[in-house]
Each structure stands twice: as structure tokens, then as C-alpha cells.
Amino acid sequence: MLTRRSFLNAGVQGIGTVALSALLSKDLFAAKPDALGALPGLPHFAPKAKRVICLWQGGGPSHVDLFDQKPTLAKEAGKDIPAGIRGDTRLSSMSSGYAKWPAVPAIKPFARHGQCGRELSTLIPHIGSIADEICVVRSMNTEAVNHAPGVTFFMTGSQIPGRPAVGAWLSYGLGTMNEDLPAYVVMTSSDKTKTCGQLFFEHYWSNGFLPGKHQGVRFRGVGEPVPYVGNPAGVDRAARRTMLDDLQALNREHYAAAGDPEIDTRISQYEMAFRMQASVPDLLDFRNEPKAVLEMYGPDVLTPGSFANNCLIARRLAERGVRFTQLMHAGWDQHNNLFTQLELQCRDTDQPSAALVKDLKQRGLLDDTLVIWGGEFGRTPFGQNQQGQGYKGRDHFGRAYSWWLAGGGVKKGHVYGETDDFGWNVVKDSVHIHDMQATLLHLCGINHEALTFRYQGRQFRLTDVHGKLVRGLVA
């Protein structure tokens, strides 16, 4: 096991305050058995959410088609969106040179859902079925005009790769609740016909300048879920155990000679690795999942690498105390195929997303699990005429777009923020990316200004020098 002495060594990471923090937090373990390795003083206050599941919708889901109904777009269909509305909005170079800005109405009707009467697209009936559980935010906004900078911005607080991702910050600040699994897990999926083309880069789950162990661990949809988690062919679990026992005996012998407590840490790392080799397969063994539960997540639930499969794994990770689960789905980049692809995307993601929320709720996990659903931006209220092929899609649009949140201390059956009649400008209760990050940390019991890491002579934090807690979202 980790010993108090293990932390008083010069071999690993920055000692000094860091080691002393670790040492101090060690003493809190007895009082708080559900968090190992938290920084002293963290959480700053009682958290509403103990864990977070981020259902990332990469590519940029169209807010005006799904969450933010705009009758004006229908009324003014085909006419240019007025210059007074458009202002000097920075658009991608695919559409910034356009001479025409024809309003394109939502491609499918909206309907009211739940007791709260939330208006949502008929394309997402399952999300409609949890309308009373979720808080729709219609006033998200970002400066990013392109995918990777936009994703990087929410994940790390900067559009340029290199800083720690939010999951790494949570692992660093709050520690882990289950040492046999990584504290920060990432899973990816994409639309079946691969029309979206959004890729998944490691810097979306980077530890940045935080210690490497806080990096997100990506569970893969092909091959082994975690690289090298399985023994090589020719080595079974008993053989590995035997080998580890002899390995550890040699390590202990070396410890007697070298005296370095770090050797103790190494021994415990190898034991944790051995346990992880059992806990990962157990995590992915669905044999005991009731049929009704599997059906909730829809027909793809048993297809590895599908969004539905990942949603089910996310629930199982939540049960096992994984701090931050980041599902990344790519499928929403409809520049020239809005009328065909949007519906397919909704079909793949709508049911599993809603099922996850319902499943967490029926297990009593929703109250302290925060679920976030959204992408890097929305889509232009005007039509995109890509390569002169006609108005078949919408371009990237960061000035206003929609997300939804559920559980973990968020208001239920609520809507927050408002855009103008064209879905172009936020007119009420703006939620900038940094504000959302501040709010996420707050729900986890963290003051976003006080979770910092000294690097390059300055105190870095997820929200850079920005971010305001959005109290209106918090229950």
C-alpha cells in the first residue's frame, strides 16, 4: 500500500508543496474514504456532483433545429437575415465571404414536452421524455469558429492545445474514488456513415502541465479497451500473479538495499495494475444487465464503439466512482447534408442520451452525477451554399447555441438564457464557455478561481482569467 513515507521522496513529481499537500491530504483519507489523493482543502465546499459525465456532441449540433425554436426563421424563410442582426459576427472562412444570408427554418417541427412544456424538436423525442429532468441552456457562446479550437476551448479553457483538460483538473483537485480504474475516462464514437469527419485528438483529454497520471485514459472501441490491459497470449492471470509475487520479492530486496520509499510506490503501482486488469473486464461485462435496461439504450447498445454502448459504459463507470467520463461523439457537422444527416444523428444519440439520464435516476445516481450534453458551437441560422450546390446545410456558429444539463445540482425542467428572433445573438443570460466551466467546477464543490497550478511562474486555472458562476443554472 501507499505509505505516508512514500510521499516524502524526491523521485516523483514536484515535491515541496505538492508532496506536502499529498501528505496532508493523506491524513484526510480516513475521514473521507471516497476520495484518494485530493488536494488539501478540496472540495472547497460541499459538492452537488461527485462525478461528471460529458456527452460531447462534436461537429456542432444545430441549435435552431433542435433546442431553440425560431418562428421568425420560418416567416422570413429565404430572405436575408438583417445586417442589424448579423453585425460583425466572425464566421468561418467558408461563409464569411457570402453575399446572401437566407434564413433557413428548422427542418422539422417542434413539440412541447413534460410538465414544464419544453419546446424541443420532434427529432429528439427521447430527450423530450426527460424534459422535466433537464435544464436547457439557450445562451451558450464561444469565440471559436472551428472545430478543434472550439472543442479545445471547452475542454481546456484555451483554444490552443497544451493546457490540462477539465477532467484532469478534477482528478488533480479531487483525487480518485476508485483506484482500480482511471479517474478520468474518455470514449469516442462517430456517425455510422462517417460524414462528419471530426477527429479525436489526445489534447482533448490532456493533462497539460499537470502530472501525467491525470491524463484521460481513452477506452477504445477496437482491440483492447485500454491498451495493454490484457496479459499477452501465453500468460494467464495465475501465471501473472506468480510472476508479480516474485517480482515484488526482488523489489523488496532492492528496497532493503536502496532505502528509497519510491520503491514502495512502484510495488503498489504494479498491484494496482493487476487489479485494473480485473476491474476493466468486469466493467465491460454486461451479462448481468437486465434486458429492459439494455433496451432503454436502443438497438446499438451492444455494438462496441457506438454512442449507445459508450453511454451504458458511462453509467457503469459512474457506479464505480469514476470522476469524469468524457464521451465524444462526432456527427453534427452538417455543412451540406442537414436535411438527411441531422435526423440520423438524432436517431443515434437521442435515445442513449435520454436512457443514461433515466438509468442514473432509477439507480439514485442522478442527484450527484452531473450530465452535460453539447458541442463546440451551434450552426448558422442562415443556409450554407457549399460549393454552389444549393442551400443544403448550415455553417459553424459560435455566437449563440444550446446545451442541456441534468442531475448534479442543476435546475430541473428549466430553461436558461435566450436568443433573438433569428437565434443569432444572445439577448439574455449569456453563458460563455468559461462561465460553463466555472459552473461545472462549482457543482463539483470547487471555486474555479482557487483551483490553480503554478506553471511558468503563474497560477494557471481552467477558466484562465475569466469565468463567472452561472447561479441561475444551479438548483
Partner: protein
């Protein structure tokens, strides 16, 4: 009690309680080590160099300004506002304000009180003052490093540890200088050498090894955010590896650091720059490039510019310039104007800011340097010579063709302009002018057709096409390099936004540092010259500190990326200054500096940790023992390859694709724009050193763990451990195959004990001692029992990897020994540099 500046106050402050410390301390408070850190951390954010954010117009970083605003009264802490505010219970009055989330401890308040009582003297930040060579402590140590280290230890009543056992020492220095373990023969030779300079001879041998450059390039690759692809969508491959090979060659040749740096920063601007010097500037182009559709090229170009500023400032100044991108620096005296003056040096490349498209897997942005390999250059020269030879005959061939045309009957001559027809009449005597006219017609209108028909001319054209085609093959290296060919104005950007241009600036170096030499060009070359002027306070210190970090795991200033006001106090400031002056005055010779370090008693001492040593100096800041360092994962793989005998010792070349888990780039394969199948190498390329593994910037090599992500400049070494590292070294085919090969390598040793001892020697560089042989025997016996009972498992274990297995070795025995060797690679002592 330790004297100020020793590393112990922090610990004392936290663990003992500092009131006692300060009350009894006999020496005056030192501004640099004791006061500025408190002011900087807690006050400068609002009362520091940044004029825009300054509150109450008070700045505390300049004494006269602080006095003018009556922040304190020298000699009278009781009436000093600073002291009153720090102690105030009123939330409106107290400093720092509650929402700053900063706390000044009672001990720190006491330090400030004493400092004011003693007159509140200021000092310039030590790292911003030109280093002068301090006198050596008179303790008889021969190596100046030891003189300084021993003096500090003695002040704490400590001593250096005894010298490490010789085998351990040889493994340490061999790994540190070459990244590979010593061979048993090298160890035996060293153990047998009883000459006085036996160790120094080993050091010189290692410094001269070609493997040296392959080791020393690793920290440079992290600093240069080197990768073999751009990053982002499409993640186009690049040819920047040609630069990597250049750097390995220069490190092996010990090109002095000033020249190395000048060529990397501005080789293209040197008089009569050679292709190699232009190649050196690829350092500035190793950054990420975003090729996403719809992105704004100029915005991306500024992302690259900002990156170049950060990278060069971190690498050579040890300063965080990025802070001044949006506003004046909060802590260091660096203005926003300084930032953009520096940026101007990098703002003149004829680049777009985004890579080009096209069907090739390579995606590059101008300017490019064609840099063929010697083999390619030779092949091109051959093709060119063939063409040249044929081309010499062109005039004669053309004359022949012309004559033949003239001789043709009119109907076969093709369309001839009316006015020329008379000239072609038989027996017509043509004037020189007429002849010229006729020849011009032929050359323009007829010859191109003849050219396609006539065999000699066809061959000539084919030779030309072969030259052109060879230069446009996909693997013809085109390296992204620097150039100042484009005139552009540089502006201060409001809040760092590329569209918000403010005042125009031209190249300048930061005003608070020594001025640019009057005769220096105002460009990157001038920047390089400025860095190496003798009075520069930072360049030598920053580099020496990083060299120290390489051998001790941590720098003398542990924040090796930042020597500014917010940096950690140096553990041995005088030693750092002495080494910096020595490095500069000695001609910036890296190998000389490293030789001085690794031959010191400080370096050569034992790494054994004793309970007393751990208690007295838990972080080993005084260096009373050698640090034990976990090897970087790139070297752990190299050690496995070397010990097993699989290593391919080829120097340089295009990146290779060793074993990875299935479909490592599968998450990129969504794009239809290119194929992201991992092209696993065959044969010897599977066993090249890790530095040659293709580094995809978006998905780093999966089995190289705990590395810099190569997204941004990284110069600090930071090591962590995770169970995933253990899983990699236990289960990756790289290590399993290396174990099988190691077992095969030692099979001929005779019996179990000899085989195990030899394998142990190959991996750990020493013979097993004490209970180790018995424990190794247990290890093997247990594995033998497992595989004797399960021949299928034995066969499966032996099937990993592409290298051939010697069928003469019984499978059960081979499998058992393989499993034992896998355990050896995973020993803490193998993973660690003792």
C-alpha cells in the same frame, strides 16, 4: 537554524512554525530570497509591473514608487501601511483581498515586518543581473561543483554520500550520456581498470559515442515541440525529421551552444547560409499547424507566431513571455510592447499559417527547404548527369532535324506561313536574316512535333522527366524552415486578438535586459547575437540549469522553464552562477560542461537513501545523495532492445513504425481525406531507438508513456507513475519479445544460475548479490512449473514478435526464462537509474 537561502525554510515554515525561525535568525532579511517571493505571489498581480491592472496606482515592485505612495516607512514597521493592511481584520481593508484567494502567513508577515525594520532595501531579481564568477568555497574540493555542494552540506552538518559502487556508477553515466545500458564487456573492463582516471576514460568514451547525440536530442525534441505530423484534422505528415537528424549530428559534434542556437534561430540569415544552416531553422517551424476546412489562415498564422515567441522565450530566456501577449507581465518587468517587438522577429516568413492540401499524406506550409538524403542526392545527380549529357547534344540534334525538315518535300513540311514559302524554294539562296526567320519558324512551330517523334530527342525528354519526377516523389524531403522574405508590419495587438491592431512596432529585445548591440541586425540574427552577448544575465544560466536537470532530475532552479520573479529559489545559486560563467567563458561547450558535472563527486555519490538523510533533507535539495531517477519511457524501450540484443543501431533517417496496439490511429480514421492505417515496420526498423518512432502529434505513440505531448514547448522534466505504465511494460509485445530474445541470448550461458545472472547483468548492469540469486531462482522455478504444465501457453508466449526464435531451445525452458526476463525488465532497479 538554516541560514536564509538554504532550502529548508519552506519546510520549517510549514512543519515547525516559522515564528521561531525568524525571531532567532541572526542574518538580515534578504530581499531576493525572502521578501520578493512574498510580494510577488501575493501583491504584484494588482500592484506590480502591469500598469493597466494596477490598483490604487500603487506598485510595490519598484521601491521609489512604493515609497511615493507611502506603502511603508523604512525602519518603522508599526506605522507602515503594508503591515497594517496585511494584519487587518476588516474585509474592506485587508490585503490581499479575500477574493484573491491568496494568504500571507504569519511567518511571512513577520519577515516583511523585519525587512521594513531593517530599512526595506530592494534588490534586483538575481536572475536579471549578469552572473559573475563567485569565489570557490575554500574546502579543498577539486571539482568546483563539489566545492559549492559540500559547503552547503557542511553548513547543515551533512556530507556527500560515499561514491556509488562502480558498476552502478557506470550504468548511471552510460544511461545519462547515451540512454543505453553498459554492455557486460564495458562493465567488466571498467571494473578491471585500476588506473586513477578509469572513470574519466569511460566518460570520454561515452561522450564520443554516436549514441550520445541520440540521447541528448530528447530534451531538445520536447523544447522544440517536435512531431512528425502537424496535429489537427488530416494531421498531415511532415519532413521535420531531417532537422532532428541535423540536431543529432551537431550534438555529437559538440557544436558550441551559441552557434547551435544561432543556427536554429537564424541560420538562414547568416552570411552565405549553407543548406545545413537553413535546415537548422526548422526549429521555428516544428509547431502545430491547423488544416481544418473553414479556418482563418491569418488567425492560425498568429497562433504559430505566439507559439514561436513562447518557445524561444522559454528555451533561451527561461521566461514566460506568453503573459505579455494580452497585457504587461504581472510579475516580470516585461511589457506588452516588448512581447510584440520580439514577435516581429518571427513575423516575416512567407507562410500562410495553414498547411496546403492535396492527395499526398504530407501537408506542408511554405517556406520549404528541399533536403534530399545522401542516397536521394546521389540518385538525382545520376539522373541529372544523364540528362546533361544528352542535353549537350541538343543543338546538334536540333540542327539535324532542321536540315531534315528543309529537305522534305513541301507537302510534308506542314503548315508554312505564306511569306516563308518562297524561301523554301529549291536552290533558293537565303540571306542570313531569312535563314534566321525560317529557323525561328521551325523552332517554334515544327520542332516541338519533331521532338516527340525522333528517338534521340525522346530519350532526352525522358531524362528530363525523370529528373523532375524524382524531385516530386512523395518522399522527397521538403522541410519547413524560416525565411524573412515577406515584409509585414507588426503591431501590438489589443488583448492579443489578431484583428485588434494597435501601435506599430519593430523588432526589439525586452527593455529591462541588456540592449541589443548597436551593430546587430534588427531581426532573428540580431536576437541570437543579443542572447549570447557576455553580459546577458539569462542565456547561460537557463541552459546550465537545464543541463543540471538532465543529470540530477531537477534544476538548480527547479522551475527550469521560468527563472523570472516567480521562479523557485535556486538551491545552489552560487554554483549556478559559477557554472554559467564557466560555460560562457569556456566557449559554450556542452560536452565540457557535462564532463565537469559527471566527473564531480556530487554526481558520483551513492543514491542510497538512509532514514537520517530522508529526515534531514527529504527532497534532497542539498544533494547529500545522488537522486534515483525513473528512466524516460523512450529510454526504457531502448534499454529493453539493447539488453535483448534486438536493437538496430542505425543513426538517423525517416521515422519508423514499431509495434503498437491494433489500429492505434483508428480515432483519426473518420476522415476520408487520407488513410490512417498504421504502417507497421518490418525487420530491423522494428527495433530502432524510440526517438525514431513516428510521432503523430494528435495521438502520441501509445507505448511511450509519461512524455511531453509535443503540443507546446516543454523544458521541465516531470515524472509521474501510473498503473498504466506497469501494464505497458508487462504486456506490450515490445517488452515480451525483448524478454524472449534476452532469454535466447543468455541460453548458452550454461545453467539456470548463469543464465539468470547474465540476463540480470544485461538489464541492470551488475551481477545479482545477496539474496537476489536465490530469488531469481525462485522466479524461474515458478515459471518453469507453469509452462511445463501448459505447453500451449509456452508456444503462445514464444510467438510474440517478428524476430526468429531458436528452435534448439526447448519451448518450456524458453518460455519460463522469457517470463523471468520480463520480470527483470520490470524491476524497480531496472526502471530506475540508481
Amino acid at each position: 537554524m538554516p541560514h536564509p537561502g538554504s532550502p529548508l525554510p519552506l519546510l520549517a515554515t510549514l512543519c515547525v512554525g516559522a515564528a521561531t525561525l525568524s525571531a532567532e535568525s541572526p542574518t538580515p532579511v534578504d530581499f531576493n530570497t525572502e521578501v520578493r517571493p512574498i510580494l510577488s505571489e501575493n501583491c504584484f498581480y494588482c500592484h506590480g509591473p502591469d500598469a493597466n491592472k494596477r490598483k490604487a496606482k500603487l506598485r510595490l515592485d519598484v521601491r521609489a514608487d512604493a515609497l511615493a505612495k507611502k506603502a511603508f516607512v523604512p525602519g518603522d514597521p508599526a506605522t507602515s501601511e503594508l503591515i497594517k493592511r496585511l494584519a487587518s481584520k476588516d474585509p474592506e481593508e485587508v490585503m490581499p483581498p479575500p477574493d484573491a484567494h491568496r494568504t500571507v502567513t504569519p511567518a511571512q508577515r513577520e519577515t516583511l515586518r523585519r525587512w521594513i525594520a531593517e530599512g526595506a532595501a530592494y534588490q534586483e531579481h538575481w536572475a536579471f543581473v549578469t552572473p559573475v564568477r563567485p569565489p570557490l568555497p575554500p574546502n579543498g574540493e577539486k571539482n568546483p561543483i563539489d566545492a559549492f555542494v559540500v559547503a552547503k552540506l557542511a553548513a547543515a552538518r551533512l556530507t556527500l554520500s560515499p561514491e556509488a559502487p562502480r558498476a552502478t556508477l557506470l550504468r548511471r553515466v552510460t544511461l545519462d550520456l547515451t540512454g543505453l545500458p553498459p554492455t557486460p564487456a564495458e562493465t567488466a573492463a571498467f571494473l578491471a581498470d585500476d588506473s586513477a582516471d578509469a572513470y574519466e576514460k569511460q566518460v570520454d568514451r561515452l561522450l564520443a559515442s554516436p549514441r550520445y547525440g541520440e540521447r541528448m536530442v530528447l530534451p531538445w525534441l520536447d523544447a522544440a515541440r517536435y512531431a512528425d505530423s502537424n496535429g489537427f484534422q488530416q494531421d498531415g505528415d511532415t519532413f521535420q525529421w531531417v532537422w532532428r537528424d541535423w540536431l543529432v549530428r551537431q550534438l555529437n559534434a559538440d557544436l558550441p551552444f551559441d552557434r547551435l542556437s544561432t543556427e536554429m534561430l537564424a541560420g538562414d540569415l547568416l552570411p552565405d547560409a549553407t543548406p545545413e544552416q537553413r535546415l537548422a531553422t526548422a526549429f521555428n517551424r516544428n509547431h502545430i499547424l491547423n488544416g481544418e476546412g473553414g479556418n482563418i489562415a491569418e488567425e492560425q498564422r498568429f497562433v504559430s507566431l505566439f507559439d514561436r515567441v513562447d518557445t524561444t522565450a522559454t528555451t533561451w530566456l527561461g521566461m514566460t513571455m506568453a503573459c505579455a501577449q494580452c497585457h504587461d507581465h504581472k510579475y516580470d518587468p516585461l511589457t506588452q510592447k516588448d512581447y510584440y517587438g520580439w514577435l516581429d522577429a518571427f513575423n516575416h516568413a512567407p507562410e500562410r499559417g495553414v498547411p496546403g492540401g492535396g492527395p499526398s499524406r504530407f501537408r506542408l506550409d511554405q517556406p520549404l527547404l528541399e533536403y534530399p538524403s545522401p542516397a536521394q542526392a546521389a540518385q538525382l545527380a545520376k539522373l541529372q548527369a544523364d540528362f546533361d549529357a544528352r542535353n549537350r547534344d541538343l543543338p546538334a540534334l536540333q540542327n539535324q532535324a532542321y536540315a531534315a525538315w528543309l529537305a522534305k518535300p513541301a507537302k510534308d513540311r506542314g503548315m508554312t506561313p505564306k511569306e516563308l514559302e518562297p524561301l523554301l524554294a529549291p536552290d533558293r539562296k537565303r540571306t542570313a536574316a531569312e535563314e534566321k526567320q525560317l529557323r525561328a519558324h521551325y523552332n517554334k512551330n515544327v520542332f516541338p512535333e519533331d521532338r516527340k517523334r525522333l528517338p534521340a530527342l525522346q530519350a532526352l525528354d525522358a531524362a528530363k522527366a525523370a529528373v523532375d519526377k524524382f524531385k516530386t516523389t512523395a518522399d522527397w524531403p521538403r522541410v519547413m524552415v524560416m525565411s524573412d522574405a515577406t515584409a509585414r508590419d507588426t503591431h501590438v495587438l489589443d488583448r492579443g486578438a489578431y484583428l485588434s491592431k494597435k501601435e506599430k512596432v519593430t523588432f526589439a529585445t525586452p527593455a529591462f535586459l541588456p540592449p541589443l548591440p548597436a551593430d546587430a541586425p534588427r531581426n532573428r540574427l540580431g536576437l541570437a547575437r543579443w542572447l549570447f552577448r557576455p553580459e546577458h544575465p539569462l542565456t547561460a544560466r537557463v541552459q546550465v540549469n537545464r543541463q543540471w536537470q538532465l543529470f540530477f532530475g531537477k534544476g538548480i532552479v527547479r522551475t527550469s522553464e521560468d527563472l523570472g520573479v516567480q521562479s523557485e529559489q535556486p538551491t545552489h545559486r552560487e554554483l549556478l552562477d559559477w557554472l554559467a560563467v564557466e560555460f560562457r567563458e569556456g566557449g559554450w561547450k556542452t560536452k565540457s560542461l557535462q564532463r565537469l558535472i559527471v566527473t564531480s563527486r556530487t554526481y558520483r555519490q551513492s543514491s542510497q537513501v538512509t532514514p537520517a538523510g530522508l529526515k534531514q533533507d527529504p527532497e534532497n535539495k542539498l544533494l547529500g545523495r545522488s537522486p534515483r531517477l525513473r528512466l524516460p519511457s523512450l529510454l526504457l524501450r531502448d534499454v529493453a532492445l539493447a539488453a535483448s540484443g534486438l536493437l538496430t543501431e542505425k543513426l538517423g533517417g525517416a521515422p519508423v513504425y514499431p509495434y503498437m496496439p491494433p489500429a492505434p490511429w483508428e480515432s483519426l480514421a473518420i476522415t476520408k481525406e487520407r488513410d490512417f492505417t498504421y504502417p507497421t515496420s518490418q525487420g530491423p526498423d522494428l527495433y530502432r531507438r524510440s526517438l525514431y518512432t513516428f510521432w503523430r502529434r494528435t495521438i502520441a505513440p501509445v507505448n511511450l508513456f509519461d512524455t511531453s505531448a509535443r503540443q507546446a514547448c516543454r523544458v521541465r522534466i516531470s515524472t509521474t507513475s501510473s498503473p498504466l505504465h506497469a501494464l505497458t511494460m508487462l504486456n506490450d509485445p515490445t517488452w515480451v519479445e525483448a524478454s524472449r530474445a534476452l532469454a535466447q541470448r543468455v541460453w548458452s550461458a550454461g545453467d539456470d544460475a548463469r543464465r539468470l545472472a547474465q540476463a540480470y547483468q544485461l538489464v541492470l548492469g551488475r551481477a545479482p548479490t545477496g539474496r537476489e540469486p536465490a530469488l531469481l531462482a525462485d522466479l524461474l522455478a515458478h515459471q518453469r512449473a507453469i509452462y511445463a504444465a501448459d505447453p500451449k501457453a509456452a508456444a503462445a508466449l514464444l510467438a510474440h514478435g517478428a524476430s526468429p526464435r531458436d528452435p534448439a531451445i526447448p519451448a518450456t525452458e524458453h518460455a519460463a526464462l522469457t517470463a523471468a526476463c520480463l520480470a527483470l525488465f520490470n524491476l524497480d532497479a531496472a526502471i530506475t537509474r540508481d
